[in-house]
Symmetry: D2
Subunit: 347 residues, 4 copies
């Protein structure tokens, strides 16, 4: 019997919090000791998320009510912008995986530009490890604070970074069209996310400046060894979960789809959660639903000098809570895939 790690989820009344609880339900290592939700404090999780009834979970409390001396691990699922001061107030010995965007941008100037206010914990920011697990495993293992990547950045960077690092594609001509399920927008009651406003239709949004863009460019720039600007257009899909990126690249001279595919297959050869598909096999979001998988396909393009990458994840799992658990497993020396072995749910 593994000794269990006392765990708190801050902001547990949203979808990423609920998804963590789903994954932790089958996890032997983490004990859910505290759940917070400021507006819903006092409610049971059964009331807030009936699908989790029966897991015998703690009642929701405010953050102030948590005794962090008895907590070892914190998953922070608070809204963007509200997280910095909360994490700054936690005891140093508590390890934190933050699912918000607050610590993802290493450059606090860039943070200030995109989020409209100065970063409130710049020293803490310097210690944060960007937790794209497969590409930062050792740093994550040693981290006290992990900034868990956004869903779009996870889905885009996993196929692109190995190719940029290897110089197999041009850094200056990357076009990303990304498709996301609605759960990425969270559980807040907004007209735009009503069933009636979303079902049976699609549209792009954040045109020319979605907040995940600097996060993507940060990772791609590091891989390319110089500043990279990409074209990135997210779209809202009439589905609960799932994210798909269709990425248009220019292979370097003499490089074709087969070489790109081989390089990605090699990069992720030993990975449990990133799967590079064979020639002609097309990633689809329904093939990863509920799982921590990322599927990647590489395709030729009839347009001269181009190739197409396609990647698919579940935005709530590999794009949020699953990757967070993957990171926390590493931070506590547990097997990386613990609690993440579930096969996808289809149909």
């Amino acid at each position: 019997m593994m000794e269990q790690i006392n765990t708190a989820i801050l902001g547990a009344s949203g979808y990423t919090g609920a998804e963590l609880l789903r994954l932790l339900a089958g996890h032997p290592g983490f004990r859910v000791s505290a759940l917070t939700a400021d507006r819903k404090a006092g409610q049971t999780m059964d009331a807030v998320f009936p699908h989790l009834a029966g897991l015998d979970l703690p009642t929701l409390v405010t953050i102030d009510q948590v005794d962090f001396d008895r907590i070892d691990a914190v998953f922070c699922c608070l809204p963007h912008g509200t997280t910095q001061s909360v994490i700054a107030g936690l005891p140093d010995r508590v390890k934190v995986c933050d699912l918000s965007a607050d610590f993802r941008l290493a450059d606090i100037e860039s943070y200030a530009e995109w989020y409209g206010h100065p970063h409130q914990a710049p020293e803490l920011q310097k210690t944060a490890v960007y937790g794209l697990t497969e590409l930062a495993r050792e740093a994550v293992r040693a981290a006290r604070l992990v900034a868990n990547p956004g869903c779009y950045p996870t889905c885009s960077q996993l196929p692109l970074i190995p190719l940029l690092k290897a110089g197999l594609i041009e850094a200056d001509d990357i076009v990303i069209d990304a498709l996301s399920g609605v759960s990425g927008a969270g559980r807040a009651a907004k007209e735009a996310n009503l069933y009636t406003e979303v079902a049976e239709g699609v549209h792009p949004y954040g045109l020319g400046g979605h907040r995940h863009l600097p996060e993507i460019e940060q990772g791609l720039s590091a891989a390319a060894g110089r500043a990279v600007r990409v074209s990135f257009t997210p779209h809202l899909m009439p589905m609960n979960r799932g994210m798909l990126s269709t990425i248009h690249v220019r292979p370097a001279a003499g490089v074709g789809p087969a070489e790109l595919r081989a390089a990605l297959a090699e990069a992720y050869r030993d990975e449990a959660f990133v799967r590079v598909l064979g020639e002609g096999v097309v990633p689809a979001t329904r093939h990863v639903r509920g799982s921590n998988l990322c599927l990647i396909g590489v395709f030729p393009d009839r347009a001269p000098g181009r190739a197409t990458l396609v990647s698919a994840i579940d935005n709530l799992v590999k794009g949020a809570s699953g990757q967070a658990l993957q990171n926390m497993n590493l931070m506590f020396g547990q097997p990386e895939g613990l609690g993440l072995a579930q096969a996808p749910l289809f149909p």
Copy 2:
């Protein structure tokens, strides 16, 4: 390390077969040794169900190609009507859970009436145990052949049988309106099940004579101690998974919703998968998605002398493959819930 049971799934290219594989992927006791699918024999499961890629599954073969001397357990997911002769041809030592309707009706006259041809294995029929697990646990444990209940019958009988047994509701006035996701219709390519024909609309079907009706009546009649006829109307819903039964009953004299709820809560007090909800809590299919749960609620009705029962299951899990695994666990002396502990997937 548990010694593994060699297991075959016959008809593994349909949704119930795939769902069994999803559940078995996390199961320590059963080894998937053979998968059959007549028309798709020779294909890999990766090709047939890409979401199961990575499970290292056997290639699909025909039933003839299976060496049943090396098989201990068979899940039979063949179409209704084709199953009797196949199971009759299996070695006696092989334990079988049949997900088709072929062995569900104890009365072979009734079978002949509803299915339009004489039963082809009447002796075998006599040995079959109807596997509504919670209500037939000991018989299932001892069975060699379990007839796994249909989705509608599971969802309707679980709330009704304890009440009929206890004489708490009238047997002669039961009205069931049931709502099912499309996966219940299987994976066969039919115009009526195209996305375009199903999305954004609802309709009843099988009016006045769905094949699950005699199965429901068989169970209710046994519980009531006399022949029961019910009104049963299934409806097709624009969703992949999920089944909900809204059941209108007449409580016996002096009995109200509270007494019905208490009786059900008592009947299922120790059950892991059947959950009787508190007053005012409404079952919803999204709260059981992907899980083996059955939620039951009891509600007052303003119409004099009536009460309403509502039950919800995932038609592919408790309504098919999950209950089948629950039964097979019992048949092999394993913990009943092994492989079935996953929390529901929401949203």
Copy 3:
């Protein structure tokens, strides 16, 4: 060229308001002269409902800003409870069709019981005509104020009233299970109506006391000639539009489904919008989407002494704005179907 009637829509920023505008776009008789929406006053309709861009509609204003001396017809799409005082303040010469529930219950005691406060315009209530058009045509024609029926009451009463009037079914044993698309819940931003909360799942609600229940019972009681109590259970469906009622009745002695069907066919023989389907033809909501149609089917039930009625409408058209226009056409002496001839949209 018809002389056009100056028309105001109060509460035009909701779905029923938008639907009226869609229908009026092709209507030669009504000129849209004023649109109100208190919280969105000052916005253009293009901004509030981009699908209506190009119709050259007035900008949204507050009710106070409307010069009702220049208005002849008012469609009132305000929330329940807020409507009484507004309508009471309109000039007598203005004809009003009210889509809220405020004037639907003739008995103001019943109103007070169900809505939790005394009726604020009891004298006006006495003048209101309940506008279930096919069954109240002459009264509607003469009315100054029409209370437009709710969606559930429309869908339930159209099949039941002729049968009750003719004594062909028992009044004391009517069970209605009704399925509604999400647009019936309106455009207010509520967590429960988010895409993520609704998609891929179904559930009942309002168990034992939905506010449409007294409205249904009012109509059925009048038809039966005595107080009728029904069992009525609404369900939320993962679809934008559409409503289906599955209604379980007990035919009178010697009456079978064929007689019920014949009686309904006779009752609606000359109706353009109510269609009684032939034996075995099943109503489906997708067959009425976007149209003012009500489809009715009658089916046998294997349970002794029972029959099943099924009716389908588009909740936003025949269940709201379409029937409102149908009524307003009558109130102004125009052809009843003007603006309502569009064929359903499928798929």
Copy 4:
């Protein structure tokens, strides 16, 4: 009263045929005189498409059974590849709008390459007018045979052609990601189009070689004055109707999004069905559902030297049957928008 034109729809049992009937139901000029469907010949349209019940339509017959001497206009909705010989066999006096791909490619070598067999009516091909109405109005007016554009080509070419003609964008760097509803796949019963296979998921398809690609390139090449190759990736969406193209372009030196928008606004200034949206207004498929509209938006891109075009249509209307009717109106000297004035259906 307009003298009515006798009209036949060949292949009326598919979705484009049904959509034509929906649009023609409100059209004063065309009388539906014959409907064909080889496999469903003998059936009534009520049975094949219950939503069209009540339109008093002819029973389905085989093509052989049609007396084309009494037909003036033919809408041909037959499958690709089967159409050439049928149209070649029609009397010269019959005007034809063909919704298949058979006459869209002016270069019969290209046709042979993409469709795998030689063109069977090369002389007829020379007479065919490619009916992208707004850009070919005069030719359509004079045509006897119009090749109605595909949905993807319509949605992509309308925003691109004016910009290429004006030299405002580079012809050699166009990336199109297109999203389509399922109705574009037709009504044939295929596993891949089942509700369960499509709902709650997205994926690209036809990677590197969808058959609409040469059609798009044909139009863009003509506009650019030289051979153009584009990157084009279609995606299947979980929705019935709607198509959205997100198109990445490189404006010419000194040209920005504002200039592109102005040029498109000017190009379509007098058009009823093509609407260029203001700055920041985003096209969405739900805003055109059921209508013949094409919405176009132009957006800046943070990536240097790029801009983004977004266009949205209903694939069954402007992408198929609506444009076909628009063309046929022109061919018979009727007002171009007759029968096409319906406002979009939302939600």
